[in-house]
């Protein structure tokens, strides 16, 4: 059984050097929050605020920053599943081969046949990605992340441009996968309804230089999350109780 990972994030500063040799651009300043093990956390912020940069830092893809990010209960870095904003499938491998590629021989993983079936991808497993619609490609990218049974799942607006019924299906599937096997999820979105529906806790982020504005647990029972009324009520409540985030809502 994969261990469940908690994440402590403390970034004093992260900046990018502009390519034209101009001044440094400060993207993140004094950003601090923790994710409990097994928690489903949504990061909500205006687009362009640096959420993708933050996920890259957590995934270890970018090590140029001041601060530290630690994963407890783990000497080694956790196995990360990352659903990027774009599907990032290898075009020269079939759907099935794209998923098989990332499986680790020495670690448990999902039954790929069943996973593909559950995600409505059973028919296309021998198809090359260039022949898939964007919605389908996104589902393959999700399946790939689920397949490795990650300790930590990072998701960067994975449902953008899915049509509403597919998005609902995938939401339900994500909730089911997450329930079946506890793992920590950090989910980036600018869609507050989606965030309320999925998350245990919402972390609101500011415009750059990015920092945490506020941190709010979602107390709607999981069983009621599919009801739009409940979601909207929670959203209205947020707006009245937390004036600081009114422009994000």
């Amino acid at each position: 059984m994969a261990s469940v990972t908690a994440v402590n994030i403390h970034i004093r500063s992260k900046s990018f050097h502009r390519t034209d040799g101009g001044q440094k651009q400060l993207v993140i300043r004094q950003l601090e929050f923790s994710v409990r093990s097994g928690e489903f956390l949504c990061l909500v912020g205006p687009s362009g605020c640096g959420k993708t940069t933050l996920l890259h830092l957590i995934a270890g893809l970018d090590k140029q920053f001041d601060g530290n990010i630690s994963f407890n209960e783990q000497d080694v870095p956790p196995l990360v599943g990352y659903v990027f904003q774009e599907p990032r499938l290898l075009p020269w491998r079939t759907v099935r081969d794209n998923i098989d590629l990332v499986l680790k021989p020495n670690r448990p993983h999902e039954d790929v046949d069943r996973l593909l079936e559950n995600m409505g991808l059973g028919q296309v497993q021998d198809v090359y990605p260039e022949r898939l619609s964007l919605g389908m490609s996104r589902r393959v990218a999700l399946a790939r992340a689920f397949a490795i049974q990650p300790d930590l799942l990072l998701m960067d607006e994975p449902f953008v441009s899915l049509d509403a019924p597919t998005a609902r299906n995938v939401h339900a599937l994500l909730s089911r996968v997450w329930h079946q096997r506890p793992h920590t999820v950090i989910f980036v979105t600018h869609d507050l309804r989606e965030a309320i529906r999925l998350a245990d806790r919402l972390v609101f982020l500011s415009n750059p230089p990015m920092r945490v504005v506020t941190d709010i647990p979602v107390d709607i029972p999981r069983a009621d999350r599919h009801l739009p009324d409940k979601i909207d009520a929670f959203r209205r409540q947020l707006a009245t109780r937390h004036p600081k985030i009114r422009d994000l809502i």
């Binding site: 890259h56 995934a59 270890g60 893809l61 196995l79 990360v80 599943g81 990352y82 990027f84 774009e86 990032r88 290898l90 075009p91 020269w92 491998r93 079939t94 590629l101 990332v102 680790k104 090359y128 990605p129 260039e130 022949r131 490795i148």
Partner: protein, 247 residues
């Protein structure tokens, strides 16, 4: 208008007819007719000279091609990945690209003697910079998104190379191979002419001294046929297999 698939055939036939007409009009040993060339081709094939010389040249071609492709690809990928190394060696590459082929061949024979390895070395040195430049370009435009994917999902280095990097470099590799074959073909004849006592280049030189144009053309035809066979039987099938995922 004739069907498109017959156009190459018609085009080739036209070329041969034009050649035939000119040779009849000129009526000179400087331009033998196509039948005469075919006749020499058959004679040389039967007496074994053509095949043995062709075999020798093809062997040299294969050895120097493989060495140049492997060496050039390795260096090209390395330079594409390591900016500092690239900045250092860029000047060397430009110099090597601009040294005339004849100079490398002469120097190679002068320094290492009129031996087989010197001949191979001369061809390799001529070809490597081309492969380096092509593969370096390919490596520079590798998709960073896919490399990040490989890093996040902790793919072993070898697998990242074979499954993520190589397929992206494939078109560059094929370009290097195709231009490489054409280049090596041309250089290898000069190498053989200057310092070997067998092979196509040596034989062509012999015909040149005898002013035997029919012989020269017969060998040229054999040459072109071999190149076409390589393209048709080796490169095309590899291409089709490797590009099967494209829409």
């Amino acid at each position: 208008m004739p069907q498109a698939k017959f156009l190459p055939l018609i085009s080739l036939a036209t070329l041969i007819i034009v050649w035939e007409i000119i040779s009849v009009v000129i009526d000179s040993p400087s331009l033998p007719s196509p039948e005469r060339v075919i006749q020499v081709l058959i004679e040389e094939t039967i007496n074994g000279t053509l095949l043995s010389n062709l075999g020798v040249t093809l062997t040299r071609l294969a050895i120097s091609f493989i060495i140049a492709m492997l060496l050039g690809s390795a260096i090209g990928i390395l330079l594409g990945r390591r900016n500092r190394l690239n900045q250092f060696f860029d000047g060397w590459i430009i110099i090597l690209l601009n040294i005339p082929a004849l100079v490398t061949i002469i120097l190679s024979y002068v320094w290492f003697g009129l031996v087989e390895s010197a001949a191979i070395l001369a061809v390799v040195v001529n070809k490597v910079p081309n492969v380096v430049v092509t593969l370096r370009e390919g490596t520079r435009v590798l998709d960073r998104n896919l490399l990040e994917l490989a890093e996040v999902y902790q793919l072993p280095r070898m697998q990242t190379f074979t499954d993520v990097i190589c397929p992206q470099l494939y078109p560059f590799f094929m370009t290097a191979a195709r231009t490489g074959l054409a280049l090596i073909w041309k250089i290898i004849l000069v190498v053989e002419m200057l310092g070997r006592s067998d092979g196509m280049g040596y034989q062509l030189h012999l015909y040149f001294q005898l002013f035997d144009v029919a012989g020269i053309l017969a060998y040229t035809v054999a040459f072109i046929a071999v190149i076409q066979l390589i393209e048709l039987l080796i490169l095309k099938p590899i291409d089709q297999h490797a590009q099967r995922w494209r829409r």
